[in-house]
Symmetry: C2
Amino acid sequence: MRIAIVGAGALGLYYGAMLQRAGNDVHFLLRSDYEAIKENGLQVFSVNGDFHLKKVQSYLAAQQIGEVDLVLIGLKTFANHKYNELVSPLLGRQTIILTLQNGLGNEETLAEHFGADRILGGVAFLCSNRGEPGAVHHLGEGRIIMGEFNSLDTSRAEKIAGLFCAAGVPCRAVQELKKARWEKLVWNIPFNGICALMRQPVDALLRHSGTRRLVIDIMEEVIAAANVQGIKEKIKMSLAQDMVQFSEGLGPYKPSMLIDRLESRPLELGAIFRVPLEAALQKGIKMPKVEELYALLDLGEAKSIA
Amino acid sequence: MRIAIVGAGALGLYYGAMLQRAGNDVHFLLRSDYEAIKENGLQVFSVNGDFHLKKVQSYLAAQQIGEVDLVLIGLKTFANHKYNELVSPLLGRQTIILTLQNGLGNEETLAEHFGADRILGGVAFLCSNRGEPGAVHHLGEGRIIMGEFNSLDTSRAEKIAGLFCAAGVPCRAVQELKKARWEKLVWNIPFNGICALMRQPVDALLRHSGTRRLVIDIMEEVIAAANVQGIKEKIKMSLAQDMVQFSEGLGPYKPSMLIDRLESRPLELGAIFRVPLEAALQKGIKMPKVEELYALLDLGEAKSIA
């Protein structure tokens, strides 16, 4: 299968590398890593075993890639205004677009640009970081839950999921993409948000009784908002406790939003905070603690004194 | 009147200087400013006109001062465990203790140590900062509202208030000290809290629509909690809007808690957050946004990554 990777951060590089290693015809649209990968290939340091791809098809412009069967989007959501420039040249009539981006609103925007029927969404549970140029670190997890944006039929998603499974990435097709998206937000909103705001890793939040309680409070707000979004099978409130317990095992893990802030990049506040808050409000639900976290994070996008 | 100033930060130095200039017999219990003030006296830079006190009675231990008529306490509340050491040597049978400290719980702790009948509390609306050793900057305001801790009788408070008025400090005795304390918290909790957390001055919070809204939300939570504390005349919800409008005039003012954080001192979280949250909970009232701010500030007392 001819595949284009758009947005080759840690997530795009890792999944692209896995797909290429399994024999797919993968094309990477790169920016900062272009020179390093062109010269030395792509190095994956993984908890499942390191590997190196010597020859990587890398490009600086989508036009050089041309039409593909599958576009995998791993862009930071604050770059979504570039969809047209980066994705249009890759599309034929049958091309499928799979976005693995964070938060809400990405499928909707892609659908507006390129038509709803070709859009799949996937929720990636992946702990990974960029390394030196040309290297990516896979620290744990990696599974993907994916589904159609515009249909409850899972046959196409199953085909794509099979592609990932064959490449060693646990992947499952589901009818309710929306539920999976919200479940990920239950984790992302408190941990990405508080870690980024406080410049502290996951374990620091869990060690402190006040922020541990706050994480759970926020998770419960998000679950309550999720359950009025028209999903069929409700999310249980106990997911909050389960997720906190699971997160104990992550140790000093730095969520992507914390890394963005430490590296002075913009944060993905639209997809992870603004759109979910709007979706909740539209159903008459307030998330006061999420609202507060969003305001503080957004203020922090300006500069502080010290 | 023989007066001792305990806790000679900006507030203690300023009010002590005003009282001495008016002819009172003022004794300053000092620490960091001792050498500078002993040598060069005390310099007040004030919006109402600068002045210099050449001769200042300064001490490093309360025993050297001995018994006084009035003890004025301006300690940071995180130093309240030193009450015994710093205050006991100053007390005779008739000595009055006036605490001008921030937040809730100070009168209670003083009453436990030294008896409830001698305790007055005052709420100081003062914009001031320390300068170089031996100097204090009075940036604006300065009025005090004071009352008895253990009685609704205002006669003694009126006498002390008169002392301040005669020294050029607008001062008013009230029956309900508790109401005045909570009214100050309506301002202190959001502005001290968010400014310290975000390391940003007052005007930065008000310019950003998200944090401006958050300031008002938090003020409304505090007003709701105040109004179930058994105060006779309720605080109007419109105080929130009034205070925000007033605060526009403060420009890039740095509240004391922000200065504490910028200078890596501990924050007054007990008196300004923990005790008010407990008092609200005891009356069955939740302040979710205050709770969140407290958790984040308290986590921040640990070190951040970057």
